[in-house]
């Protein structure tokens, strides 16, 4: 086990390039037990890429990522799986298995990774669903519930194994203000009461300032600003002020270049479209 002094996650000099485009440019930070780190930044700034490096599904170009004191960038699949059993992750869409019911989705990690009896698992599933305000929904399929409910089921599933570390990708987008508050309070309760550590990627500034103990703002692959919520709120950096106040005018550029956009979607330019645009070009 880690002591309180040792960081749960330590990212050192992380660099990731796709071709000649640098998505993450030399980022370093660390997270300690019980902290809630909020990662902010505009679309396409490298937030998701950063998260994927921390959970071990992408390998960096250079640099190191230590999770629970172990270097995750050097691990093979089996070792990564061992580390992953200690954390939960909430996906942006919930990422529930559509063929299983809500209850079975939450039970899945318990069935796969513990030897608990079916009765115990049923109890845990009920408790977790109650935590996110969805008790009684066990037997519905994901297709039968709303987007916000799916996300809450995703959260219940992420918490099924009582993880030491929780990753949330936009946990409150698509939730109504009351449910947002419920989810925020749940995060706060878990990080204060159970010493869980949380890493939250979000655009929702109200929610971010409510839960964060520390905030990082990313832009163009760099950390633009980091600090406590108060430090961020009073930051003199115009990009930070523009972002947290949600202003259309400011130093953050509105458009990605075509090149970046193509890359962002992981879609190759298609010859047909290229040919068509050439055709339009000629006729103009």
């Amino acid at each position: 086990m880690n002591s309180n002094g040792e960081p749960i996650i330590e990212v050192v000099d992380l660099v990731r390039r796709f071709g000649d485009r640098t998505v993450i440019n030399d980022i370093s930070f660390s997270i300690h037990r019980g902290e809630t780190l909020v990662i902010m930044g505009g679309s396409g700034c490298g937030k998701s890429t950063l998260l994927r490096h921390i959970i071990g599904s992408m390998k960096p170009t250079s640099g190191s990522v230590k999770v629970f004191g172990e270097e995750i960038t050097m691990m093979n699949e089996r070792e990564i799986a061992r580390v992953r059993r200690r954390f939960g992750m909430l996906f942006q869409s919930g990422a529930l298995l559509a063929s299983l019911t809500v209850g079975e989705n939450v039970a899945l990690p318990l069935l796969q990774h513990t030897d608990r009896s079916p009765d115990e698992i049923e109890d845990i599933v009920e408790t977790k669903l109650q935590m996110v305000g969805l008790s009684g929904f066990e037997n519905l399929k994901p297709a039968e519930i709303s987007g916000g409910m799916k996300k809450r089921v995703g959260l219940a599933r992420a918490l099924a194994l009582d993880p030491e570390l929780l990753f949330s990708d936009e946990p409150t987008s698509g939730l109504d203000p009351i449910m947002t508050a419920v989810v925020d309070q749940l995060t706060l309760k878990l990080t204060h009461g159970s010493h869980m550590t949380a890493v939250v990627v979000t655009h929702d500034m109200t929610s971010a300032f409510r839960i964060a103990t520390r905030m990082i703002m990313l832009g163009h692959g760099d950390i633009i600003a980091q600090g406590t919520p108060d430090e961020i709120r009073t930051s003199s950096n115009p990009e930070v002020q523009q972002f947290i106040n949600g202003e259309a005018d400011g130093p953050i550029p509105l458009n990605l270049s075509q090149d970046e956009h193509e890359h962002h979607r992981h879609v190759k330019p298609r010859p047909f479209l290229a040919a068509r645009s050439r055709f339009h070009h000629k006729t103009q």
């Binding site: 959970i55 599904s57 799986a81 059993r85 869409s93 990422a95 529930l96 298995l97 796969q112």
Partner: protein, 176 residues
Amino acid sequence: MYVPDLVMVTLLREMGPVLIAVIVIGRSGSAVAAELGTMKVSEEIEALEVMAINPVEYLVVPRFLAMLIMLPALTIMGNYIGVLGGWAVCRFALNFNTAGYILRALQSADTWDLYSGMIKSGVFAWLIITIACNAGLRVEGGAEGVGQATTASVVQALLAMLVMNAVLTGIFFFSA
């Protein structure tokens, strides 16, 4: 009349395994590719990985085993129905008597005809499910990608199955 011989030999060796495989590629291979492809594009596969559940163990292995058991089982059933069809034609169109058909059918085929068909069917099962799962798990790019992967899996599986059938027939019956 050689109708019973024709029915038995072509059915057990070729028509049974191949036709059943064609049907299964159309209804199950495509379904597997589409289902896994949809799971891929909706982040479900990634979610499994992050939950430390190996998607191959959790999703592919059960489908592989199911296909390996069910395709030969369906082929046996298909063979029965084919023989029954042969009997119906002989009995009602060609005025054979039933006992004569059964006797002739049993004399004309040997156990190797049956076994070779079963082996083929097992190999086809392996081909079909490998191609379908592979196509499904490699999907990129939303609903369009799922459609392309499903089409590709059906076309590839049909081709691979027919080529494999020719190869196996060659090995089983034309190699000295």
